[in-house]
């Protein structure tokens, strides 16, 4: 009798009650703030309702999470990872992602071709890096990338320094090159230097610079600009008339070594369904990857929102992920030495 009581007490102390053990949660790695909240509300909750598998999140910056994944290689702390399409190449190069089993992703058949980035990672939504400005502080219309070089915008522009690939590619495109022949745009970029008032390292810094008016013109993520509009800040997103915005695709992947590959695939498949994609469009103001998703009329044709398959190429420029991942260190080195430094 005493033994039984002690056993029951020990089981209770360990938090284990036979018959009501909670399912092992699926751990999803994602950016914090609005990104995590949206994924939780739009994807994780319906996933748990459908499968009974709870979802936990590991939040952090793109590279922080990559670093964590690397040290946990072989015994991953997370099961599904959201990351940008080119940083996913780094995960792949280190064997951190497991190949996707497309037979378990039936919704992938409805995806835009551009969304399937590799056999390891698949797009969840799209956006563009484009020009965003505050018309209350900039008294002229900005309609083209070339407008950034106008003397009237001197000391008003901010752009990311952690990843200058967008402006480097745009400058190269303007000079008849592309991300591979990026050197063609170097001289043009040097001419832009006096116009840049600040560089930002995070989305939060970018938004603060816009809110305070310190940098009322920015090369900015369309999703962040829509977020600022929702907060009541009067910002205008430009659909540049001369060259398209640079497309970004946030992707999902299953971690190599996960013991919950089945649930991970179910989660990704649900995120790709047209119903969930419709909600993601409304919440994030990002472009759907599933062509069957419903896009509200007010968002159709807006920067970063692609509806018809042809729009991906007509209204956006998609960089080669591998070229971007391999060349980014060289881009950063040149950009820091020639544009960032005084």
């Amino acid at each position: 009798m005493l033994t039984r009581i002690v056993t029951m007490l020990l089981i209770a102390a360990l938090g284990y009650v036979p018959g009501v053990q909670a399912a092992d949660p699926l751990v999803v790695s994602v950016w914090g703030g609005n990104w995590k909240d949206t994924i939780d509300r739009v994807v994780a909750k319906p996933f748990t309702a459908k499968t009974g598998v709870p979802v936990e999140f590991e939040v952090g910056g793109t590279i922080d999470r990559l670093a964590k994944a690397r040290v946990a290689k072989g015994n991953p702390l997370v099961d599904v990872t959201f990351t940008t399409s080119h940083v996913a190449r780094l995960y792949i190069s280190d064997g951190l992602f497991s190949p996707l089993d497309m037979s378990k992703l039936p919704n992938a058949k409805e995806l835009a071709r551009e969304a399937i980035r590799s056999e390891y990672h698949i797009g969840g939504w799209a956006y563009v890096y484009t020009i965003v400005y505050r018309p209350d502080l900039v008294k002229e219309d900005i309609t083209r990338w070339s407008d950034l070089w106008k003397p009237s915008l001197r000391g008003k522009i901010a752009m990311p320094d952690f990843d200058p690939s967008h402006i480097i590619t745009i400058a190269a495109l303007m000079e008849g090159g592309n991300e591979v022949t990026w050197q063609k745009g170097q001289e043009r970029l040097r001419q832009l230097k006096p116009s840049i008032v600040a560089f930002f390292s995070t989305d939060a810094q970018s938004q603060d610079l816009m809110k305070t008016g310190q940098a009322p013109v920015q090369v900015m993520l369309s999703v962040n600009a829509y977020h600022l509009q929702e907060q009541g800040l009067p910002v205008t997103l430009v659909q540049p008339a001369d060259f398209p915005g640079i497309v970004g695709i946030d992707t999902m992947a299953v971690m190599a070594g996960t013991k919950k590959a089945e649930a991970a695939h179910q989660f990704i498949n649900l995120a790709l369904s047209k119903e969930i994609q419709t909600q993601l469009v409304e919440s994030l103001k990002a472009g759907p990857v599933n062509g069957g998703a419903t896009v509200p009329t007010k968002l159709r044709g807006q920067p970063g929102i692609f509806v018809a398959p042809a729009e991906w190429k007509e209204r956006g420029y998609i960089m080669n992920d591998e070229v971007r991942a391999k060349t980014l260190p060289a881009w950063r080195e040149w950009f820091t030495a020639n544009i960032v430094k005084k």
Binding site: I63, D64, L66, A67, R70, R89, L90, Y91, S93, D94, A158, D161, F162, D163, V197, A198, F199, F200, S201, Q205, D208, L209, T212, G213, Q214, E322, A325, K326, T327, L328, P329, A330, R332, E333, T336, A337, V340, K341, K342
Partner: protein
């Protein structure tokens, strides 16, 4: 008794292993577009010996030295008042005002400076935000509470009888300060300066936010290399060089200041 040393030895071992791992990484070849590293190389150290990275080191040392001097000058009067104010209420208020910044995080304080330095609250005659001037203001503000407390402790140990004796012999207040108070409070000046100089050498959030990407100190450059360029071996090499430089500088400054104090 020796057993009591075990926790310290444990911590030291962990740090030594971490430093060893960092050193090992700094000798591995960086492969662009991959997290895999190649064989052993000294190329990373050659890379950080370039003018660009030496420039970051120079900027950091200059900013740290300027921060130390300005913090000392700005903090001494406050510390003196804190140590010598006759009114207990005044001392309490000064102490509260001095400690108040400790209760707000460094990030919050820095964001407040973005507003103040960015012409939204005050219109500055020269650009402040995203310049070395702005970063300097932020670093001085960040360092002042610690400097004030260290100086106040040192000044409170100076017996006012010495100052009264000097004054009674005809010394002006300025002469009393220069010949009596300041020399006797040198232990506080030296320890405060060393601490402020050391932590400013590794400053990260203040230059990151107030520098707007244009003012970079060593820690920002290491982060850029390792986290933004994915060049972890390069970041490790720069961190190693910066660590050795910091230790050498601190040893030099410490030896110079304690030597002079002993004379």
């Amino acid at each position: 008794m020796r057993l009591l040393l075990l926790p310290a030895l444990g911590v030291l071992t962990i740090f030594a292993v971490a430093l060893g791992a960092l050193f090992r990484y700094s000798l591995l070849t960086f492969v662009p577009g991959s997290l895999q590293t190649g064989g052993l190389t000294l190329e990373n150290f050659r890379g950080v010996a370039s003018p660009e990275y030496l420039g970051y080191i120079w900027d950091t040392v200059v900013l740290s030295a300027a921060t130390t001097v300005l913090t000392l000058v700005a903090s001494y009067p406050v510390a003196y008042a804190l140590a010598r104010a006759s009114s207990r209420a005044a001392r309490s208020w000064l102490l509260v005002l001095t400690l108040a910044p400790f209760f707000t995080g460094a990030i919050v304080r820095t964001y407040a400076w973005i507003l103040v330095l960015g012409n939204t609250v005050v219109t500055w005659p020269v650009p402040m935000l995203f310049t070395e001037r702005g970063v300097l203001v932020g670093l001085v503000h960040f360092s002042m509470p610690t400097m004030i407390l260290l100086l106040a402790a040192a000044i409170s140990h100076v017996d006012p009888a010495y100052e009264r004796a000097a004054a009674s012999l005809g010394a002006t207040p300025a002469r009393v300060f220069w010949r009596v108070t300041l020399p006797l409070s040198m232990p506080g000046v030296v320890s405060g300066s060393l601490i402020v100089f050391a932590w400013t050498l590794s400053a990260f959030p203040t230059p990151e936010l107030l520098g707007g990407g244009k003012v970079k100190m060593i820690a920002n450059a290491v982060k850029d290399l390792a986290l933004d360029s994915f060049n972890w071996p390069g970041g490790a090499a720069f961190a190693m060089v910066a660590l050795l430089l910091t230790l050498a500088l601190l040893a030099g400054v410490g030896r110079a200041s304690t030597g002079r104090h002993a004379e």
